[in-house]
């Protein structure tokens, strides 16, 4: 196998080198991107935010953190930013590391600066993991729909799936015997089918069980439609309220309810890529499906995914903040920006910094993600490139 593939890759690289050298393309992208000053600012803040979040997690975690976000000093409640602590009223261990409350203190006397640092990491994690999940699911679904869209699901597939899921349900409900029997039947049938397939290649066994019922594309797109029918924030709220509160659940729920856009993008992209010559060529050379998808088509479809992922992170951060605000966010002891804000809102007339600091921080980060994403989209937009 290997031997046959080396020359192809080489040829292709050579071809690519001839038509559009990679370096220049990146350069070109950068040049275009650089023109958009807002987007560059966005990128800079984005990098700053990354650094803050990473240093935040280092500085605020562990047994004896440099900045302790959970240190309660009730003598030092609701101090405005830039106040010096009352040294008289504090034990040495309680004195803030910087010798000053940079962002003030909250209603329990916790240092808002430390909490913001910790929250930065949580926000970042929630954003990235949620979007990671949504991109993975989206690319997978979109890719299948776009590439295998024409393939049909036959009745026997449906039957096998039905038997399997019935088995799972039986097992779930405690009827272990029936469930196990169903599961076993399903697995045996699947194995037989797969075995038959590898033996006979693409043998066409016609019959009632091989009737084409519905195409893969339709199934996936209907799933997307179904998912789009749910009001997304309401759905997230429902699920988050029903499952036990934890950071991971929130990330998973946000991720699983936001993959539809990506799936549609990728499908559209794949549909057009599939018809292109280099894919046909690869197919003709007998390259495996997965290799075609991941090696040849994916790099070409990555741009819109990247853009939507960047903006998706912004949305995820906003969603998490909204959930925290309603009391369903990341549970304590993790401080998140949404948490700080919703805890501080009761003191809005006396300690506005508790609302404004996290609010402005969320605003800036989300804004820079949006600007960066849009800048990226503009830079990759072929129409604009022509004009530029």
């Amino acid at each position: 196998m290997r031997n046959t593939q080396y020359p192809i890759t080489d040829t292709q690289q050579a071809l690519e080198a001839l038509s559009a050298p990679k370096k220049t393309r990146l350069h070109e992208l950068w040049a275009l991107f650089r023109e958009n000053r807002l987007a560059v600012i966005g990128l800079v803040i984005f990098v700053l935010f990354l650094l803050t979040a990473v240093s935040g997690v280092i500085l605020t975690s562990g047994q004896n953190p440099v900045f302790d976000p959970a240190m309660v000093r009730l003598q030092e409640k609701l101090l405005p930013p830039f106040t010096r602590p009352h040294l008289k009223a504090l034990q040495p261990a309680q004195v803030p590391t910087l010798g000053i409350y940079l962002f003030g203190t909250d209603n329990l006397g916790r240092d808002v600066f430390s909490r913001m640092l910790q929250g930065a990491w949580v926000s970042l994690t929630v954003g990235f993991v949620a979007v990671g999940i949504s991109v993975l699911v989206g690319v997978f679904m979109g890719g299948i729909a776009g590439y295998f869209g024409h393939e049909s699901i036959c009745l026997d597939h449906i039957l096998a799936i039905l038997v399997l899921s019935a088995g799972a349900i039986f097992l779930f409900m405690g009827w272990i015997g029936t469930g196990a029997a169903c599961m076993a039947a399903g697995f045996i049938y699947t194995a037989v089918c797969l075995f038959a397939r590898t033996r006979t290649g693409q043998a066409q066994r016609r019959g009632i069980f091989r009737m084409r019922a519905i195409s893969v594309d339709t199934v996936i797109m209907r799933m997307v439609d179904i998912m789009l029918c749910f009001p997304s924030f309401f759905l997230i709220l429902t699920v988050v309220a029903l499952v036990p509160a934890s950071m991971y659940n929130i990330m998973i729920v946000i991720g699983l309810t936001s993959w539809m856009g990506t799936a549609r993008f990728v499908r559209a992209e794949f549909l057009s890529l599939r018809e292109q010559d280099f894919v046909t060529a690869a197919k003709a050379l007998g390259v495996g499906n997965f290799r075609i998808i991941f090696r040849h088509m994916m790099p070409n479809a990555v741009a819109p995914v990247l853009v939507s992922a960047t903006i998706g992170i912004a949305t995820a951060i906003l969603t998490e903040a909204g959930l925290s605000f309603l009391g369903f966010g990341v549970p304590p002891p993790h401080a998140t920006w949404g948490n700080i804000l919703s805890d501080g809102k009761g003191f809005i007339f006396d300690a506005p910094w508790l609302t404004f600091i996290p609010g402005v921080a969320i605003l800036i980060v989300v804004l820079c993600f949006n600007l960066f994403g849009e800048g990226l989209r503009d830079a990759m937009n072929p129409k604009l490139r022509e004009r530029g």
């Binding site: 179904i226 759905l235 029903l242 499952v243 909204g322 809005i348 007339f349 605003l363």
Partner: protein, 319 residues
């Protein structure tokens, strides 16, 4: 045409069926019991629990519960677990409260976005365009509840007027004109908040549509012909740029439910979103499911309407 309608109605019904199944499963497979049947709740004796479970079919298998639920929903007999009131009546009452918020918000969105977007398309790259672009991003990025508190703080500390709730308390003895205007005032801030995101997105969309059209040959021709710029922009370009927006009218329907949870709870507004939120807190499944179902219906109806509108408006599409 008729066949298109029939086909999409069938398709949407099937989708709706799956949505109902999925939402039912999500709610019922999630861990935990509704608080009313929570055995840990000391207020409930085991007998009461059993009666409750029977009354709401909680002892039956899932599929039977599903059938019971949707049978009750379609016959309008479904009741809330919390107070035994008819869910549909409750939703209708709350819907009437949410409606003005939605109408004013939509009105603001659609009337403001067009002039702003068109102008920034015409003066593309200028100071106006750039600042509007930045402002639009700012409005998309600002967390709604944070913005809400900024506005509340501003209004309460500088103007000293009530902003919370649907009306000023204790105004029931004044003239109807006052009461009406008081209600309008209470609508103002929440609907501005509800509209900000919409204005930002829509004005960007208007701008890009206008840009697209302005690049077309016929517009260039019209310009070259020496027509006044206003005529070119507003007559030749705008008309064609408007086409996709007609379809968007259908897509605003789902906004009736989603998205207002946070704003309604900040402003103590007794609307749909708040009801849904309270239902989630109380694990009042009938209300959650009904709200979910209705919003799915609205989404599907919205896409259906927008498809139809497209058919009607765009002469290029014929079925």
């Amino acid at each position: 045409m008729l066949s298109f309608i029939a086909r999409s109605i069938i398709q949407k019904t099937i989708t709706l069926f799956f949505v109902s199944v999925v939402s039912f499963l999500i709610i019922h497979l999630a861990p935990g019991e509704p608080s009313q049947v929570d055995p840990l709740n000391p207020k409930f004796t085991p007998e009461m629990l059993e009666r409750f479970r029977q009354e709401f079919h909680l002892n039956e298998p899932l599929y039977a519960q599903y059938i019971h639920f949707y049978k009750d929903l379609f016959t309008g007999r479904i009741v809330s677990w919390k107070d035994n009131r008819s869910v549909l009546a409750k939703i209708w009452e709350r819907f009437l409260n949410s409606l003005p918020l939605f109408v004013v918000g939509t009105l603001l969105t659609w009337t403001l976005s067009f002039p702003v977007g068109i102008r920034s398309a015409i003066y593309r790259g200028g100071l106006y365009d750039r600042s509007v672009t930045f402002l639009a991003y700012l409005l998309i990025s600002i967390p709604g509840f944070f913005f809400a508190y900024i506005l509340i703080i501003l209004v309460v500390t500088t103007l000293h007027v009530p902003v919370i709730g649907m009306e000023t308390f204790g105004l029931d003895t004044s003239s109807w004109g006052c009461m009406l205007m008081d209600r309008v005032w209470h609508l103002l801030i929440p609907s501005i908040l509800g509209a900000t995101g919409g204005i930002a997105v829509l004005s960007r969309y208007v701008r890009s549509q206008m840009l697209e059209v302005e690049g077309q040959d016929y517009v260039r021709t019209a310009k070259a012909k020496g027509l006044p710029p206003d005529v070119v922009h507003y007559k030749h370009a705008l008309r064609n740029a408007l086409l996709p927006f007609v379809t968007m009218f259908g897509l605003i329907l789902p906004g009736l439910i989603g998205g207002s949870v946070i704003i309604e709870s900040i402003f103590s507004w007794p609307g749909m979103g708040r009801m849904a939120y309270e239902a989630i807190l109380a694990r009042d499944y009938p209300i959650i499911l009904t709200v979910n179902f209705i919003s799915a219906v609205l989404v599907l109806a919205g896409t259906f309407v927008s498809d139809l509108l497209y058919l009607v408006v765009d002469p290029r599409i014929r079925l």
